[in-house]
């Protein structure tokens, strides 16, 4: 079995985070430990979906050959793939937390980053499912403007990333 290496980036994140945690623990033990309860609750709710996605990645990588991924999400028809990815990101409501490993696995086997960026950006910024809620709380005009501008900017960000990355 191939296992991931502990890279310098992850290691430094660990060190910084551990340092911060110890610092705040020292400052106010009760407040800091209490806050972990909130985070635990928030993440506990995600665990099922998270495991589902991680094992779905294994299925995708095993059954969909990299050439297929490259054909559909690769460099050959980037524009169409990007628009479709942006639309898919707008209508799905999964936490970005879970989407990163999925998108990362596809990029690793050859998917272009342009549709990947478009998907990740609309996934969080454009909310088709949450549109009625946004409309109720902040008004139709605001919700329309914010969501459509976010969609357009997600595409712009994605294409710029494709040029400079």
């Amino acid at each position: 079995m191939k296992l991931p290496k502990l890279d310098i980036f992850t290691l430094s994140l660990w060190l910084i985070t551990a340092g911060l945690f110890l610092f705040f623990l020292f400052k106010d033990k009760k407040k800091t430990l209490n806050s972990t309860k909130i985070a635990k609750g928030m993440m506990g709710g995600l665990l099922g979906d998270l495991m589902g996605i991680l094992f779905l990645i294994g299925l995708i990588l095993t059954f969909i050959p990299p050439e297929t991924i490259r054909t559909f999400l690769g460099k050959s028809n980037v524009f169409l793939a990007t628009v479709i990815s942006a639309l898919a990101g707008s209508v799905t409501l999964i936490p970005a937390f879970i989407a990163f490993p999925l998108v990362g696995s596809l990029v690793k086997v050859g998917a272009s980053i342009v549709p990947a960026v478009a998907f990740l950006t609309t996934l969080t910024m454009v909310g088709f499912v949450t549109f009625p809620l946004e409309k109720k709380e902040l008004g139709l005009k605001f919700a329309l403007w914010r969501n459509s501008l976010s969609f357009v900017f997600a595409l712009i960000i994605a294409f710029i990333m494709g040029v400079i990355a």
Binding site: M1, L3, P4, T10, W14, T17, A18, L20, F24, K31, T32, S35, T36, K37, I38, A39, G41, M42, M43, G45, G52, L54, F55, L56, I57, G58, L59, T62, F63, A96, F97, F100, P101, V103, G104, S105, I113, V117, L120, T121, T124, M125, G127, T130, L133, E134, E137, L138, G139, F142, W145, R146, L149, S150, I156, I157, I160, M161, I164, A165
Partner: protein, 239 residues
């Protein structure tokens, strides 16, 4: 019955388990390969999850949100924009958890541009999530997307503030007249209210619910504490 409920709660996981079950029965070598492929990502996730977990908790506890919230009104200018940006960046929870927070900000006099900034940064730019993104897509990818998104958010805020006026927004929302209620649209099921005040709050499935009881004395204090701690600002109460 319990199993059925569990399946209903975790549709994706159940479907994936079912797929693996069929695979192991029909082509075990492929199934094993798929498990191996997944394990790589499971370990990557395990390597980053404690970091995200701790950063999220620290942000919840130590970022002085009250101070931030009170510091951007209509005429707060660029400083207000920065505060809005920080508030969104250090908050936890999905974008819809930000809607009630935005309403509260509007009531306190925040301008439309700042509302756009809070909502968008809340959605895309969250510090613990940046760590996760860098882990799976590389620090360079994360940094570039962060810069481009930040620029876009400020441009959008400018345009939307021109296009939408405060009169276009709904004024007052109706409450259902109960002493304490949890807005089911916004509860993220973290259970913090149940921890603080189990007398009133309990979990029903993935969401918290409030018992229909009159609140008084020490309980009222706990309810207001829970409402304050609620990351989704989903608890409404009248004393």
């Amino acid at each position: 019955m319990k199993i059925f409920e569990k399946v209903k709660k975790n549709k994706l996981l159940s479907a994936v388990i079912l797929a693996y079950g069929i695979l192991f029965a029909t082509m075990p070598d492929k199934a094993l390969a798929a498990v191996n492929n997944s394990m790589y990502y499971v370990f990557e996730m395990l390597m980053i999850m404690p970091v995200i977990f701790i950063l999220t908790s620290l942000a919840e506890a130590w970022v002085p949100k009250e101070v931030i919230i009170n510091s951007f009104g209509e005429k707060s200018g660029f400083k207000g924009n920065i505060f809005a940006f920080l508030l969104g960046s250090f908050s936890a929870g999905p974008i819809y958890a930000a809607f009630p927070v935005c309403r509260m900000l509007l009531k306190k006099g925040a301008g439309i541009a700042n509302i756009v900034i809070v909502l968008s940064t809340w959605a895309v730019i969250k510090v613990p999530m940046l760590a996760n993104e860098a882990k799976f897509l590389g620090p360079k990818f994360m940094a570039m997307r962060w810069v481009l998104t930040t620029i876009s958010i400020f441009i959008m805020a400018y345009f939307i503030a021109k296009a939408v006026k405060k009169e276009d927004m709904p004024q007052e929302l109706e409450t259902d007249g109960q002493a304490v209620s949890v807005n089911q649209d916004y509860c993220i099921g973290c259970g913090v209210c149940v921890n603080i005040c189990p007398k009133i709050f309990y979990m029903e499935g993935k969401k918290a619910v409030a018992r229909k009881e009159a609140i008084a004395g020490p309980i009222a204090e706990k309810v207001s504490k829970a409402a304050e701690a609620c990351p989704g600002k989903a608890i409404n109460y009248t004393l």
